[in-house]
C-alpha cells in the first residue's frame, strides 16, 4: 500500500537507470543514513558500537570486496584474509614512516598496496578456473601469512611481533589508539564504508561492472565480444583486494587497535568472508551488507541472546553449540534460498508492492 511506484514516471534515461528508481527506496536509504550517522552515535550504547556496528561495517567492506571478485566476476578467492592483512601492514608501515600524514589517508592508501599484491596473485586466474583457482589463492593466503610473521621489518621489529596502533588524530580528535572514543572510530569507519560503497555501486553499474559480469557468465564469450580478459580479471582482483585491504587496515586501526596477523588474518577469516558473500547473495551490493550483518552478529546474538531467552549456557558448551548452530544455519539458509538473503529481500519487496493483493 505504501510501497508502490504508481504515478512515478521516468522522463529520461538517467532516471530509468537509477540505482534506486522508486521514491520509497530513496526515502528508505536516506532514513538508514540518518539513523547510521546521527542516531546511532548519539544514542547507541558502547556495546552496540563496539561489538555490533564496528565489526559489521568492517566485514561489510571486506565482503563488498570479495563480492566484486566472486559474485560479479565469478572468480573464487580464498585469500581475502591475507589481502586484508596486506592492507593492515601497509597502513602500519606507512603511518610509522610518515606519522604526520593523516591516518585516514593511509588507511585508504593501504588499499592500493593490497590491490597490487592482489594483482600479482590474480595472474594465475587467466589459466586456472573454478575450484582450481580457489586452491591457488590459498597459496596467497599461506604465503602472505608466513610473511607477516617471518619478516620482522613488516612489524617494525616489535618484540611482540604484532601491529601496535599509535595515537592518531583527525580534526583534532583521536581516531585510533587507546584514547580514541568509540564514536569517533565509528564515524570514520562509517564514512569510509559509505563512500566506498557508493564508489563500488557506481563501478558495478557502469561499463567496468558489466564487463565483470560478462566474464562471470562466460569468459570465452566475453572475450569474443571484445573484452580483454587479462585486463578485466586483473582489474577485478585489484578492486577486490583494494576493498579487502582497506577493510583490513580499518579492522586493525579502528576496531582491534592492534594485534597479531595469525589471529586476525588467517584462513578462517577468508572463509568467514566467503560465507558472508554467499549467504548474503552473490553479485549483490546489499547482499554483502546482509551477509556481513548475519555472520558477524550471529555469535554475539547467540552469546547474549540465548541466556536472555532463559537458556543458560556454560562457556565451553556455548562455544560448541555456537559452532553447531552456525553450521546448521548456513545449511538451512542455503537450502531455503541458495541465492542468498538479497534474493529473499527482493521477493519481500515484490510482495510488498502487491500487498494487500496476492498478484
Amino acid at each position: 500500500m505504501f510501497y508502490r511506484e504508481t504515478g512515478q514516471f521516468k522522463t529520461n534515461y538517467a532516471g530509468d537507470m537509477a540505482v534506486f528508481p522508486i521514491l520509497q527506496d530513496r526515502i528508505g536509504i536516506a532514513l538508514i543514513l540518518v539513523v547510521a550517522f546521527v542516531l546511532i552515535p548519539l544514542l547507541g550504547s558502547d556495546f552496540l558500537l563496539s561489538s555490533v556496528m564496528i565489526p559489521f561495517l568492517v566485514f561489510s567492506l571486506a565482503s563488498i570486496g570479495l563480492n566484486i571478485l566472486t559474485g560479479y566476476t565469478g572468480l573464487i578467492s580464498l585469500g581475502t584474509g591475507a589481502f586484508m592483512g596486506v592492507g593492515a601492514y601497509a597502513c602500519y608501515k606507512l603511518t610509522t614512516l610518515f606519522p604526520e600524514v593523516n591516518i585516514v589517508v593511509w588507511i585508504v592508501t593501504a588499499g592500493f598496496f593490497s590491490a597490487f599484491v592482489g594483482v600479482l596473485f590474480g595472474l594465475p586466474s587467466l589459466r586456472i578456473k573454478g575450484f582450481y583457482l580457489a586452491v591457488a589463492t590459498l597459496a596467497a593466503q599461506f604465503f602472505l601469512q608466513w610473511c607477516f610473521t617471518r619478516i620482522p621489518w613488516l612489524y617494525n621489529y616489535n618484540t611482540s611481533g604484532a601491529i601496535e596502533v599509535g595515537q592518531r588524530t583527525l580534526f583534532g580528535m583521536n581516531v585510533t589508539g587507546p584514547k580514541a572514543s568509540l564514536e569517533a572510530r565509528y564515524m570514520v569507519l562509517l564514512t569510509l564504508v559509505t563512500v566506498l560503497t557508493w564508489v563500488a555501486s557506481n563501478l558495478m553499474h557502469g561499463r567496468i561492472g558489466r564487463s565483470f559480469m560478462a566474464v562471470r557468465d562466460m569468459d570465452i564469450a566475453a572475450e569474443l565480444m571484445g573484452i580483454d580478459l587479462l585486463k578485466t580479471k586483473l582489474l577485478a582482483f585489484a578492486v577486490s583486494s583494494f576493498y579487502a585491504g582497506v577493510a583490513g587496515a580499518a579492522m586493525m586501526f579502528l576496531w582491534y587497535g592492534g594485534g597479531e596477523a595469525n589471529d586476525a588474518f588467517n584462513i578462517n577469516q577468508s572463509f568467514l568472508i566467503l560465507f558472508m558473500v554467499i549467504i548474503g547473495g552473490l553479485g549483490s551490493m546489499i547482499g554483502s551488507f546482509f551477509g556481513a550483518a548475519f555472520i558477524s552478529m550471529l555469535p554475539t546474538m547467540l552469546k547474549f541472546g540465548l541466556p536472555a531467552l532463559g537458556i543458560p549456557l556454560a562457556g565451553a558448551t556455548a562455544e560448541h553449540l555456537t559452532y553447531i548452530l552456525v553450521g546448521s544455519l548456513i545449511i538451512f539458509f542455503l537450502i531455503v534460498e541458495p541465492h542468498g538473503l538479497a534474493r529473499l529481500w527482493q521477493i519481500g519487496k515484490q510482495k510488498l508492492r502487491m500487498w494487500p493483493f496476492p498478484y
Binding site: 586456472i128 582450481y132 586452491v135 610473521t149 584462513i267 553447531i324 553450521g327 545449511i331 537450502i335
Partner: protein, 318 residues
Amino acid sequence: MDILFKILIDPFLQMGAMPDLFVQTIWDGFVTGVLYALIALGFVLIFKASGVFNFAQGIMVVFAGLTLVGLYEMGLPAPLAVLVTLGVMFVLALAIERVVLRPLVNQPDIILFMATFGITYFLIGLGELIFGGNPKQMITDQLFLPRGAIEVKMLGGFVQFQKIDIAAAVIAVVMIVALAVFFQKTRIGRALRAVADSHKAALSVGISLNQIWVIVWFTAGIVALVTGIMWGARSDVSFGLQVIALKALPVLILGGFTSVPGAIVGGLIIGIGEKLGEFYWGPLVGGGIESWLAYCIALGFLLFRPQGLFGDKIIERI
C-alpha cells in the same frame, strides 16, 4: 653470487655429503605424502560421484578418529569400537545425503561447497561437545599397529624407519588397491563410475543417485577413518589435524580433482617436495616454509597444466 650458490648449489652439496640424511628426508616426505594422498582420496571420491567439492573431508578424518578413541574410552573393545565408528560414519553419510545434498541438488557448485562448510562447522561443534576439545592418544596397540623403529644401515649412515610409517604406507596401498577393485569390478563400482560420467545418463538407466551418494559418502567416511587412525597414530587425534587436511587441497589440484591415481602421485610429489624444501632450502629464509610451499608447487604445476596432472581435459565451448 653467494646467494645463488646458497640456493642452487649448496643444498645439493649437502644432499651429496650426507646421503643417509637425504634418504631419511625422502622417506619422511613419502610417508607424509601417503597420508596427504589418503585425505585427497576422500575428496576425489566425492567429487567424482557428486561433483561436490567436499571441504568437510578434513573434519571427517578428525571426527572419525575422535569417535573411535572416544568409544574405546567409554569401554568398548577396540574391534567393536571400529565397527561402531563405521556405523556412525554410515549414519553421517545418510544424514548428509538426506539433509544437505538432496535439497541442494542441481545448485551451482559453489553453493554445495559452502554447504560442506556448514557440515564442517557442525561437526567441529558436535565433536567438541561430545568428546571434548583436548587432543587424544590414538589406541595404536589395541588396533594391532606396530610401534618402534627399524634402523637400516645404508650409504654410510643409519636411516630410521618408524614401523607405524611402514604400516601406514602398506595400509594405504591395500586400501587404494581395494578401492580400485571396488570401482572396476563390482556392480556398485560400475554405477559409481556411471554417475561420475554423467548424472543424467546414469539416472536414465535406473541408477539411484541418492543411493550412490550415500555409498560414496560412506566410502569417503571409511577412508576418513583409516586416515584418522594413521594420522592419529603418528601424532595424536586433535582438531589441529583439520588444518593439515587443507594440505590435501594442493595435492588435489596437482593430481586433478577427478583422478584417483592423481591424488596418490600428487600426494607423493607434495609430501616429498615439501620435506626436501623445508629441510634444504627452508633455513635460507628463516624456516616454516612448509606452510605454503605445497601450494606454490601446485601453483607452478597448474600454470602448465590447468586441469592438474591427471585431470580430465577441460574443453570449453560457447
